[in-house]
């Protein structure tokens, strides 16, 4: 199977687990040394070198390793995590997937993947909803023949979050 197809299948499978709240299974898609970051986004002047700036290197909404991700998942399983109980209805839309060149490393074969993300969130019986829009910058690693998430940096398109918490994963 070609690599783009494999990566797409990984991302769609992952989105399904996140949408359905199957967080233990989602955790198993991450490597032991996974780094998962959502930096704070700031309005900044256009950098002279072009592109965009305003991605804080110092402060994050989430800055997680495997252990802290496990803690967040374990919390949801306690039955007392009111922020997600009842759970938000989430839908992860993953598009514009750009797959880099796979590279052999001492940790295994790795590939950088960028994609666009739109997350829809609805809670309770209110018609209002929130959207979070972002770019994902992922590093996938092949472990025992299957792709796993080794690093994810989520570049939010919002400076001020339009939602009252980030009680779910992007």
């Amino acid at each position: 199977m070609d690599i783009t197809r494999e990566v797409l299948e990984f991302l769609y499978r992952e989105a399904e687990l996140l949408d359905e709240g199957r967080y233990r299974e989602w955790l198993s898609l991450t490597t032991e040394d996974v780094l998962y970051q959502v930096p704070v986004r700031l309005t900044r002047e256009r950098p002279p070198e072009g592109g965009y700036g305003g991605v804080s290197e110092r402060m994050f909404h989430l800055d997680e390793d495997r252990t802290s991700l496990e803690m967040r998942v374990a919390r949801l399983e306690t039955g007392f995590a009111w922020a997600e109980d009842p759970p938000s209805r989430l839908r992860h839309f993953v598009t514009n997937v750009r797959v880099g060149e796979p590279k052999p490393t001492e940790r295994g074969e790795e590939v950088e993947v960028r994609s666009n993300l739109l997350v829809f969130r609805s809670r309770w019986d209110r018609p209002e909803y929130t959207f979070l829009s972002a770019e994902r910058r992922d590093l996938l690693r092949r472990e025992n023949g299957t792709w796993k998430l080794a690093r994810r940096v989520v570049i939010l398109d919002q400076s001020t979050l339009p939602t009252h918490n980030l009680s779910f994963f992007l």
Binding site: L42, R44, E45, H61, L62, M71
Partner: protein, 445 residues
Amino acid sequence: MGSGKTAKGMERVPRLLRELAEGLEEGLVPAGILNDPEIFELEKERIFSRSWIYLAHASEVPSPGDYVLRYILNNAFIVVRGEDGQVRAFLDMCRHRGMRVCRAEAGNASHFRCPFHGWTYRNDGTLVGVPAEREAFGEGFNKAEWGLVPIPKLAEFDGLIFGNLDPEAPSLEAWLGDARWYLELVTKRSPQGLEVLGPPQRFVVNTDWKLALETFISDSYHTLMTHRSMIELGIAPRDAKYAMYGEQIHIPGKGHGTMVVGGPPGAKLPPFWGYPEEMMERARTSYPTREQWEVARETRIFLITLFPNFSLHNPIRKPDHRYPTPVPMLTFRVWHPLGPGRIEIFSWGMVEKDAPEWFKEKARHSYLRFFGSSGTFEQDDTEIWSHVAQNAGSTLGRRLRFNYQMGQNVAPDPNWPGPGVAYPINFTDENLRNFYRRYLELMLG
């Protein structure tokens, strides 16, 4: 109901405030003061246009030209350090025709140039450039009269920068009063003081600013249910009543309140919040008084709320549920009111400037994983605050009176070494009753 102040709304405000005044000492607070458009209009005028509001920490603007953009109500202020090293704050509004002259949330600038017609201001607010000045405005145009408008009052306490919209406001020192002694437990823990760990997280919650504040000024009682998930995980102490212990202290006449929690009896917790020993050693000599050092040494969880909308929270914590040793965290926040039943939270992670680098990194993790936008404690707070606000704004719900009677029969602690009025238990609403006394004084004044 139409927009603006209806006759009915105008009657409602005095009635609600009267009801609050009459019920407060019995511990009865009308739900209707929350999430109410007319009450909010009056709060804008009587509370937020007269009070000292936290804007920034000096470490956010360490060098000349550094600036951050901050708000009091819907007024945007550029908080900027001038070339002379002095911090000033200016309304981000061109004196010519009102465009915003600051182009970012943070940065460094020697000048602010308006993109509308090009009027240009130095970072001390002076108007220095007017395109085609002579042709457009003539020889006699006096630029000195057209500088950026400074905030009516600005003052700093140990790096904490506050602004006030009222030119007649009392000094920040007078405003803080005895809260200073408690603030110093954090600001003077190290001779170097504090620094921000980065820019603030900003997120919006559909709730009343008073509800957020209530949790941080007094409501230890919510921890056993709201934060039950963290007790189950072993992150919060196993004794579900852990937050009951310690002292709850209010500053009479000022509205400020603090909670100083040692730890459940029998719990083996390291002294001094669990900060590294080298930091504890420095604190021993950097506190102004021996009493402050002695209180700090026995503290594990510490909160202060300054009237009306600044809180800090400084608990003993671990960066995750498996980490072997405590790494306490410190957060500053502003409960910035956006409208009735709607706030924006500005949440900063803070740390001592001279803390070891490994500790700063772990303190940042402790903060992010438990407080702020994704915090596993705070997530549940914001969820609950938004539903309370929704109920308080409902036609039947707003007629209810809430129960603020907890701890009414507890006598003050005569042996507490610090200023203010201390109660020897945190399951009390005493700080809330004190807050609402001050609130009423301003709202009726």
